[in-house]
């Protein structure tokens, strides 16, 4: 009896979680312009419309550029911070690391508004670069959290052994450290990319006249006739997210296998 109740709960939970997402492709392929049952028949019209919307293409390109650069910057910064935090002791370490991790819980609205004020005070125009700065700020803590795991999994004496055998600190980093934390680097790149890609608030405040994909989508919601197109775009984004997750998990598992570590969690 108790087992049955738990099973019912589990099924309900999964339904609530995924039913709305299942609606996305349903209406993306629905021939009617109104988002309502019953379905009107199958069409690829909305996907075709995606191809004929230059503004959408610009927004997508913007988002991709921002997400890629954010992922790279956050991961590089995260790499330095994570190594420092796991390898060295220095005065004020706990406080410094705490402040670096703070944007993780800081409301994005606050980050967005403060960045906007700073930009205005400096007389700079908002746009792609300011969004990258904002996204890097919020993504770096994620990168640090992921990479700290990689570094603390790695035996400190591996680096010492390489130096002991004649390598310089830099060649040790290249030959030993980087390959061993590479699963973490890839995971960090993918997570930061994903966070940046669907971040809305900062992008909304700072995008100026160069909207990112989420900002563009939000703008489209004002036109009911465009809703099915939004659905089609949503469908593509869901599929891309799932694909990205699978790639990330594959890399993570391969990395573990290569160094013979036991699998202790992960995304999937």
């Amino acid at each position: 009896m108790r087992v049955n109740a738990l099973a019912v709960f589990t099924v309900l939970y999964l339904l609530v979680l995924y039913a709305p997402i299942v609606l996305l492709p349903m209406f993306a392929f629905n021939a009617g312009t109104v988002i309502a049952f019953p379905l009107q028949g199958f069409t690829l019209e909305w996907f075709a419309a995606l191809l004929n919307t230059p503004a959408l293409h610009e927004a997508t390109l913007n988002s991709l550029i921002i997400a890629i650069l954010t992922a790279v910057f956050s991961t590089i910064l995260g790499l330095f911070a994570a190594r420092a935090a796991t390898r060295y002791g220095f005065p004020g370490k706990a406080g410094i690391v705490g402040f670096i991790m703070l944007p993780l819980v800081l409301p994005e609205v606050i980050v967005a508004i403060s960045l906007l004020i700073v930009l205005m005070q400096l007389g700079l125009t908002s746009g792609t670069w300011s969004i990258i700065a904002g996204h890097t700020l919020i993504c770096t803590p994620f990168a640090i959290a992921i990479l700290q795991g990689s570094f603390s999994n790695m035996d400190k004496s591996l680096e010492e052994a390489a130096i002991d055998l004649g390598e310089t600190p830099w060649s040790t980093f290249r030959l030993i450290t980087l390959p061993l934390v590479s699963p973490g680097i890839i995971a960090s790149l993918l997570i930061c990319f994903t966070i940046s890609l669907d971040e809305f608030i900062i992008a909304f405040f700072l995008s100026g006249n160069e909207p990112t994909l989420p900002v563009y989508l939000w703008g489209q919601l004002r036109f009911p006739a465009r809703l099915p197109v939004v659905m089609a775009l949503g469908t593509i984004l869901v599929l891309l997210s799932v694909a990205l997750l699978i790639v990330a998990e594959t890399f993570r598992r391969r990395g573990l296998k290569r160094v013979g570590l036991k699998d202790t969690g992960g995304f999937l």
Binding site: D155, S157, L158, E160, A161, A162, I163, D164, L165, G166, E167, T168, I176, P179, L180, R258, V259, G260, L261
Partner: protein, 368 residues
């Protein structure tokens, strides 16, 4: 060859001090370690032995003093430029490389041709008995094999000094004993100076030419294993190396280079000056005597010179080859431990039985 080595020194430590903030980790370490010597740093955890080893390797700066390697001052010399190589406690085998890549890692910057390098790596693997394992992934090795890979990797550059940081502590007892013998053989074969850090006194005794016993950042005693075991200079060293009984005693006086003592529960004894490392001032003192230097007497046996004592068996611990007894000597407050090799004609005594034992003043050490 006890305290001072007759060998040419390869490592000279002079007044080495190390502070971590307020913590004084090394307090004036001075020692010479000879060419081709198997030298051990032995002590409990936190005594500074690993810090000293890492200072020799260059992974720790020293606060004061001097470290000479092969006559050259190592001040400011980075670890990758020192003529030392290290076997780490965790072995630090690079998990993303094969066994051969691990062993050949140190040759990356050498001018050897690829074929020469391969030959050298092959020889190194043969030396540690892993000739067929070159292509194996490093993470697929057992503990003992990892240990051998770490050894081959550290020896491939032919260092002047090989530093070993508790290299056997991760192995089980059987494997550890096998590796102890292999390490001794290997050291003799390559003729390189080995400096071993260990907290295992038995391991140090088995393997070393000389041992430095360290407590709280200081060398308490530096001697060859036999001297260290037979003539510990302080009660603390005696307690750390093997097992030792401490009996209350009274120093009566010194005459003709011999010290007269009255040992509680045993009787009067005469000791040589060498048996009194901290001198012999008349008054209360302690006598140290190893369990194997006390011998149970069976029916009809008598002790030489009448040096005999009797008591009651308080504990019997049977090990197969040996039996350990705790015997409460008549008129003493605490029992002494006696170890007897089990042989035909030596029955194992039972708890509560009366026992007689013989003792020998030559096996005693006086602690003031």
């Amino acid at each position: 060859m006890s305290q001072t080595s007759t060998r040419t020194p390869i490592v000279t430590l002079t007044g080495v001090q190390k502070y971590y903030g307020d913590y004084h980790a090394l307090r004036g370490i001075t020692a010479n370690i000879g060419q081709g010597e198997f030298f051990s740093l032995l002590g409990p955890s936190g005594c500074g032995k690993t810090t000293l080893l890492r200072a020799i390797a260059g992974f720790e700066d020293i606060s004061e003093g001097q470290i000479l390697l092969d006559g050259k001052d190592m001040e400011g010399v980075a670890p990758n430029r020192r003529p030392t190589n290290m076997v780490f406690q965790s072995y630090a085998i690079f998990p993303h490389m094969s066994v051969a890549e691990n062993v050949g890692f140190g040759l990356r910057k050498s001018s050897m041709s690829v074929a020469e390098k391969r030959a050298v790596v092959g020889q190194a693997l043969e030396m540690v008995g892993l000739g067929k394992f070159g292509a194996r992934a490093a993470h697929a090795l057992s503990g003992g094999q990892r240990q051998r890979v770490a050894l081959a990797r550290a020896l491939i550059l032919k260092p002047k000094v090989l530093l070993l940081d508790e290299p056997l502590s991760a192995l089980d007892k059987k494997m550890r004993e096998v590796m102890q013998v292999e390490l001794i053989k290997l050291q003799r074969e390559v003729g390189i100076t080995f400096i071993l850090v260990t907290h295992d006194q038995e391991e140090a005794l088995v393997m070393s030419d000389r041992i430095a016993v360290m407590f709280e950042g200081e060398i308490a005693q530096l001697d060859d294993p036999e001297t260290l075991y037979r003539r510990p200079k302080s009660r603390r060293v005696a307690e750390f190396i093997g097992m030792m009984n401490f009996l209350p005693a009274r120093v009566l006086g010194e005459a003709g280079g011999r010290v007269g003592v009255e040992v509680q529960g045993l009787g009067p004894a005469e000791l040589e000056a060498a048996q009194c490392p901290s001198g012999a001032t008349p008054g209360a003192a302690e006598i140290g005597v190893r369990p194997e230097s006390l011998t149970l007497l069976y029916d009809g046996q008598t002790a030489e010179g009448g040096r005999e004592a009797s008591g009651t068996v308080r504990e019997v611990v049977y090990y197969g080859d040996m039996t350990y007894y705790d015997i409460l000597l008549d008129g003493t407050p605490a029992p002494v431990r006696v170890s007897m090799r089990n042989m035909p004609g030596r029955r194992v005594l039972e708890f509560g039985a009366r026992a007689r034992l013989a003792w020998d003043p030559r096996a005693m050490v006086l602690f003031g």
